[in-house]
Amino acid sequence: MSFTGLVTSPSMILTDCEAKSDVEVIKLLSGLALEQGYVEEIFIEKIIEREKAYPTGLPTEVQIAIPHVHDGCKKSFFSAAVLKEPVKFGSMDGSDDPIMANIVFLFGITDPSHQVKVLRKFSEVFQDADLLRDLISTRDNKELLTKLKGALGDYIIIQ
């Protein structure tokens, strides 16, 4: 199986983010991906469309949201925002209880079949409540990136 990590950079890892809605966070993070050349403009439209139809808030112990799509993605990437105030996302399981996300991980994936291990590793992070609590309390983006790198190792590639 070929192995590909997800690219990211300090500019795509945000702390103290003041976004007020799910769409605002998604626009902000995917706009950064556009600036880096990881996605085409259509990606932003598609990822918002997808979030409305199939929300990505996860009913985990520490609630998070993981917007992602592959349309318009040129290079598989990872970005994150720790929110100053929790932002409401729809729940992936379709329940009416909204997810109040304190942290949002936004992904672009070009070919999921080549990224099984990476995606699996990330899913372990989503289940790790202690790690998530630590990430959420981080105020400096470089420190946040260091912690993420510590948890994900070679699965993220810092550019």
Partner: protein
């Protein structure tokens, strides 16, 4: 008695959760010596998937499968919350289908 179970896994985009949940299902089935085939789908395809015994979805859907395959919410395998309970129900369903097939 069927000797193999055919499963469709479906999520909103057919990417992230499908990929992870498929891996977990494979692990469960292998551990229980059950032969399987698994195919990835999008949730919008749920009503029209044919030739499968069970559909595991990872996102919201109120759609039923027109060919009559039961639809199970497999998100617990992704979040870990309720994973054990899901695994138990899933295996019960698989065995029921295989014994009656």
């Amino acid at each position: 008695m069927k000797n193999k179970i055919n499963i469709a896994v479906a999520c909103g985009g057919g990417i992230f959760t499908t990929t992870v949940v498929t891996e977990k299902l494979e692990e469960i089935l292998r551990k229980n010596n059950i032969k399987y085939s698994i195919s990835p789908h999008k949730i919008t395809e749920v009503p029209n998937i044919t030739g499968v015994d069970i559909i595991v979805v990872t996102g919201k859907t109120s759609e039923k499968n027109k060919a009559g395959a039961p639809v199970m919410l497999g998100l617990p395998l992704f979040t870990g919350v309720g994973a054990e309970e899901f695994t138990k129900q899933f295996l019960e369903k698989v065995r029921e289908i295989m014994n009656n097939g």
